[in-house]
């Protein structure tokens, strides 16, 4: 039994390290197309993990992902050529984080669905104002972004994903992880037990925004051109949310798998039939919410339990010749 537990603890990290080693070596032998596909997948994995970092921990559904991702894209356009890429990423990460601090400070006292629709509206507000500003004040729409080769972008995204995973892991293990589960399960009690819930939530929101903003800037280098409408697209808020819900949030694998499946589906379908993608997307969302309370992870756990329940008594019966079959719990 003890051995079994140890194995379980090791197996997750081992799988992650193997996947990571594989991913690092991939550009050496993979085709260009694969790298481009993986770039999209990594981008969604980064967004989804960042979303889970805040919303999964606190239980507040944020639809502000597009604000921070858009900020990343847009900053890359505005500051194109001014700063080298690493500094640019840092810069847009920080701008996104500051935006998150502002949005978080004024809204995190709102109840769940109000927080969700507030963040949703903030995407649209920024989009409309920027769009108006571009047309009426600047007189030009959009900005150009210098291209960076796919391989580099791929490695940067991979690094961001690893960074988010490590951050999540460290927070989960720390005392703040405990405080966050307290906030999620009963915020009022947490607050009366000495947890500064507001500060914690706002900081986590900013941290998550930081990663999202950086991801946006990296991705901008592959788009060549950004304007307000392209950058602040609500889908960037919806997609990570669904990917996380679909994958399940009780394990870090959930969001990764959810994002991978849908990013792949999107790459495959978006050129062929974008409405089919949206349709599947919506349908899966409905089905997941109705029938898969903890997404794919929950499904996996349930299936495993079912198998164990069936398998263990059978094995015991074999061992003990059926005598103690009814003692299996």
């Amino acid at each position: 039994m003890d051995n079994n537990n140890k194995l379980k603890k090791i197996i997750g990290p081992v799988i992650l390290v193997l996947i990571l080693a594989f991913m690092i070596s991939l550009p050496l032998f993979a085709q260009n197309y694969t790298i481009i596909l993986l770039r999209t997948i990594l981008m969604y994995v980064a967004l989804t993990l960042s979303w889970v970092l805040f919303s999964g921990f606190t239980g507040y559904t944020s639809l502000a992902t597009a604000v921070f991702y858009g900020t990343g894209l847009y900053t890359a356009g505005v500051l194109n050529g001014v700063l080298p890429l690493p500094l640019l990423m840092l810069c847009s990460g920080l701008i996104s984080a500051v935006l998150a601090l502002i949005i978080g400070t004024i809204t995190l006292r709102l109840r769940g669905i109000y927080f969700a629709i507030f963040t949703l509206s903030s995407v649209e507000l920024i989009k409309h104002v920027l769009n108006w500003y571009e047309i009426n004040v600047l007189g030009v729409r959009g900005h150009y972004v210098t291209r960076v080769d796919y391989g580099t972008v791929y490695y940067i995204l991979l690094a961001i994903v690893v960074l988010i995973l490590i951050t999540t892991y460290l927070i989960k293990r720390s005392r703040y992880g405990l405080a966050l589960s307290g906030i999620k399960s009963c915020e009022e009690a947490a607050v009366h037990t000495g947890v500064n819930a507001t500060a914690l939530k706002v900081l986590l929101f900013a941290l998550s925004a930081f990663f999202i903003g950086m991801t946006g800037t990296v991705m901008a280098t592959g788009m060549l051109y950004v304007d307000s409408i392209i950058a602040f697209n609500l889908n960037y808020s919806f997609f990570p949310t669904l990917m996380a819900i679909f994958g399940g949030m009780s394990s870090m694998f959930g969001p990764i798998i959810g994002a991978t499946v849908f990013a792949y589906l999107q790459e495959y379908l978006i050129t062929r039939s974008p409405d089919a993608y949206m349709f599947i997307f919506g349908l899966v969302m409905i089905i997941t919410i109705l029938y898969l309370p903890d997404g794919l992870v929950g499904l996996y756990v349930r299936i495993r339990e079912l198998l164990l329940q069936k398998a263990i008594p059978q094995i015991r019966r074999k061992i003990s010749g059926g005598k103690h079959a009814n003692t299996a719990s």
Partner: protein
């Protein structure tokens, strides 16, 4: 002076549409506690159905009510019965239901919108109906907007009578005020919820018809009307039809003012107003 009168008139004309847009959402949230983010999609479908029937068969768009309304009624009924009701049975607490039903509404939004794109594409569509103006002195009135205002008022009045004067309406209101007591009195709550959701969707269909009379249509236009509907409900109070009318007119006048100053910013102004409203009433924007 003329400018002011024009603004107010335009605001009132716009407000009529906004009121009809909001009434359905108000009913759905008031009774079923579902923040139906997909509300605008029903409006969009209502608008496209009107456009379709009008341009294909030459039917007077106002009469397309008879198509858009019932179609949305059925859709709403099915959605409540097969999706939200199931979800409610599985969700332990009302607060959780509020959250997950909103997410599910997002899913429904995507499904409806993708089917609409499949059927009607992503181009801007539209037709013109009574597109001319009459003048009262210096004041310009566009005829189709006037028609819309009258139609909107009539729709709201009929809906009001339906809810206050008929037995079904009274049952719905009883169910919304005290579900347990209503159930004890022999009211079938599930049927009432489905009915009220369906009626809300039907009102969205009507709103779509009205919108198609003056505005261009696009399959992605739903979200903006959802937001407008939510703002109007916040302004006018939840579950009150006269309140929706007042809220609609207030927002319409605000829209007309912004439009006269800086046309490109009127949606931004709506969003800003919405966010401010959320912040000043954090205890719950839908407080009764």
């Amino acid at each position: 002076m003329v400018l002011l009168i024009n603004i107010i008139l335009n605001g009132l004309l716009l407000g009529g549409i906004y009121a009809v847009t909001a009434v359905g959402l108000s009913l759905q949230y008031g009774v079923a506690r579902i923040l139906n983010i997909a509300h605008g999609e029903y409006i969009m479908v209502g608008a496209f159905l009107t456009w379709l029937v009008h341009t294909k068969f030459g039917v007077n768009p106002l009469l397309c009510l008879a198509v858009a309304g019932p179609a949305m009624f059925i859709l709403g009924y099915l959605v409540q019965t097969f999706l939200f009701r199931k979800l409610k049975e599985k969700t332990p607490t009302p607060a959780e239901f509020e959250g997950s039903s909103m997410l599910m509404a997002f899913g429904i939004l995507f499904v409806i919108q993708s089917i609409a794109i499949f059927l009607w594409g992503t181009n801007i569509e539209g037709y013109s109906y009574l597109a001319y103006s009459i003048y009262l002195g210096d004041i310009r009135l566009s005829v189709n907007r006037l028609v819309i205002l009258i139609a909107a008022l009539a729709i709201c009045l009929l809906f009001y009578l339906l809810l206050t004067r008929t037995r079904t309406g009274k049952a719905i209101r009883a169910a919304s005020q005290d579900p347990d007591a209503a159930a004890l009195m022999g009211i079938n709550i599930n049927r009432m919820l489905a009915l009220c959701f369906a009626l809300g969707a039907m009102m969205a269909g009507f709103a779509g018809m009205l919108i198609s009379l003056v505005y261009q249509l696009q399959t992605n236009m739903g979200m903006q009307y959802t937001i407008i509907a939510i703002i109007v409900v916040v302004l006018g109070g939840l579950g009150s039809i006269p309140g929706s009318l007042i809220g609609g007119f207030l927002l319409g006048i605000l829209g007309a003012i912004v439009n006269s100053i800086e046309p490109g910013l009127h949606m931004a102004a709506y969003y800003l107003l919405f966010m401010i409203l959320l912040l000043v009433k954090p205890s719950g924007i839908f407080g009764r």
